[in-house]
Amino acid sequence: MYVAVKGGEKAIKNAHQLLADRRRGKRDVPEISADQIREQLSLAVDRVMSEGSLYDRDLAALAIKQARGDLIEAIFLIRAYRATLPRLGYTQALSTATMQVERRISAIFKDLPGGQVLGPTFDYTHRLIDFKLAAEQEIASGVEAQAQPGAPMPKVASLLGEEGLIETASAADGEGDPTEMADITREPLSFPCGRDLRLQSLARADEGFLLALAYSTQRGYGRTHPFVGEIRVGAVDVEFFVEELGFEVPLGRLQVTECEMVNQFVGTDTLAPQFSTGYGLVFGHCERKAMSVALVERALRAEEFGETVQAPAQDAEFVLSHCDNVQAMGFVEHLKLPHYVDFQSELQLVRQLRKDFAARPAQGAEKASVK
């Protein structure tokens, strides 16, 4: 009976076998393929890529299959894999201004150069369960928006920038030499931290955590008066500067979602009133995440704008230390591990405290009556 208390190799092996069995489910239902997940659960794949910080659709799809659809578990698989990959170098900064856009909307101008492109969005669907979807059916191919083909699509912020109405990103934000950028995967997070570290942390942060924090800023906990300046989703080229060649070579393309929030800023003694921004950039099509990042990012800049830091979303140490779901899930779930050595010392202490308590009946009675 004593042996039964301690775990064992056999128990672990059996648990893994059972896990594989449950993952497969009923054998008379065809097994799902990673290809199917990649193509038909693409938004789940995008979230896993984005929070896993690794742009690989096939691997993300496989991770989702292996994790039985538990996305945080899948994110964890991707992170652990990516940690073993060698760091070859840093690419040039992505140019989202020259993005091949599949969706681009602005909430602050009715129309703008390049036009509004809805793209594939749930925004105006009625959330009615489509019972027909339960059966397989042919789906006609979609109509790609070709509003103004070939026309440039300048960033909304740059349109406002011409009048000096909006802040412009500075070199201190990490623009410029990519080798001088902070890298959260190579340096531990330390405070106070710059915008580069902040944006990197938020880009891989848990969507749910950021969503709730962003929401809290809208409800008065660190209000930022936000407007969606622009959301754009599409493909951007990744370029790498090769020292030996002396020029940049394209490595491939990524799909990213970018959100720029435009926020009111009334100015201070030294700064003229102008719009400030919150920024979010994530892998794949993750609009809710990109918006949440942008809202929280702006809230975290409170100090920079001389705003009182009083809400959770404005507190960099609080937000950035707790936004990583791989860290959070690990530490919360580690409570499942045995703690009987510590509990034994607590047992001894509580027994001692109770003994002391019983030995002081008068004091004890007094305490009880106060409660």
Binding site: E9, P188, Q327, V332, V341, D342, S345
Partner: protein
């Protein structure tokens, strides 16, 4: 670079050599400033944070092909997590493992220090959940780092004093803070305070790894490690009033095992290797093993 003897597709002991070098540099700094928490760029490991990712990274950076590894959790070699970590290194490094404390060159532990005194040349790797001893008094890292820099430990002494004022003794039973070489206050990880004296002047190297919190710290061999206390309330460890029910060992830490739903319980060695070696030498129960029902 040492090639992995196994077909895992990963480097020897999982981590790439650059990462190991980064960790070794942090270890060197930690040894040079005993008790000081050295930030390091912890990687995501294939087990969750809280399962010992800090300890695993230390072990991965330390292991060579000749090493013999022992892994314990709650003092036992056969707890599920200890089994899992041991298997991880068997698979990725192909090294020899043992359950015997005296045979191991590296011992990775969670929540205990082995009962058998460690020797020079051995390395004890602790898994650490919260490396900051001041964390529950001050949640901000920016503040606690300042407090360490200024050697400002008043808050901790006030906390211990308040315990004494309230209970007559210090009501901290595990993760009991220590002062290392008269300078840094350090969290010994959640070992019971029973184990604290084993850290003092140990001939073995003691390394502490916190993966999620990205910190490494160390106690070099033969370093002074004092549990915090007051002159009129010296540090005391809790002793068990009975021997181990299996090997009769005394002066060791015991696990309480519930036998049934009528209050029947037994107390047995938490250090399974120690208990087994004693039983192998012919020691056995001293008297009736189980406590009668209350």
């Amino acid at each position: 670079m040492i090639e992995s003897p196994h077909e895992t597709g990963y480097n020897f002991a999982y981590l790439d050599e650059q990462t190991k070098r980064m960790i070794r540099r942090a270890i060197m700094k930690a040894i040079a400033i005993p008790g000081y928490q050295v930030p390091f760029a912890a990687r995501e490991m294939p087990m969750p944070h809280g399962w010992g990712t800090g300890g695993v990274q230390l072990t991965a950076a330390l292991l060579g092909p000749e090493d013999v590894l022992k892994v314990i959790d709650q003092g036992a070699d056969d707890t599920t997590n200890a089994v899992s970590i041991r298997q991880f290194f068997q698979k990725t490094a192909g090294i020899a493992t043992t359950t015997r404390t005296d045979e191991a060159s590296i011992i990775q532990t969670r929540h205990r220090i082995p009962e058998m005194p460690l020797k020079a040349g051995q390395i004890l790797v602790y898994q650490v959940p919260i490396p900051e001893p001041l964390r529950f008094l001050e949640p901000r890292e920016t503040e606690t780092r300042k407090m360490h820099a200024l050697e400002e430990y008043g808050l901790m002494h006030v906390k211990l004093y308040e315990d004494i004022a309230r209970h007559g003794y210090i009501a901290t039973t595990y993760a009991y803070p220590v002062r290392v070489e008269g300078r840094y206050v350090m969290d010994p990880s959640p070992i019971p305070k029973f184990d604290n004296p084993k850290m003092q002047m140990s001939p073995a190297l003691q390394l502490f790894g916190a993966g999620r919190e990205k910190r490494i710290y160390a106690i070099a061999p033969h370093t002074r490690v004092a549990s915090l206390d007051f002159d009129d309330h010296p540090f005391k460890i809790n002793r068990f009033d009975r021997p181990c029910a299996l090997c009769g060992g005394e002066g060791v830490y015991l696990d309480e095992v519930l036998m049934d739903d009528r209050g029947q319980r037994m107390f047995v060695c938490s250090d399974t290797s120690y208990c087994e070696s004693r039983r192998a030498m012919g020691h056995g129960p001293v008297d009736a093993s189980a406590e009668p029902a209350r």
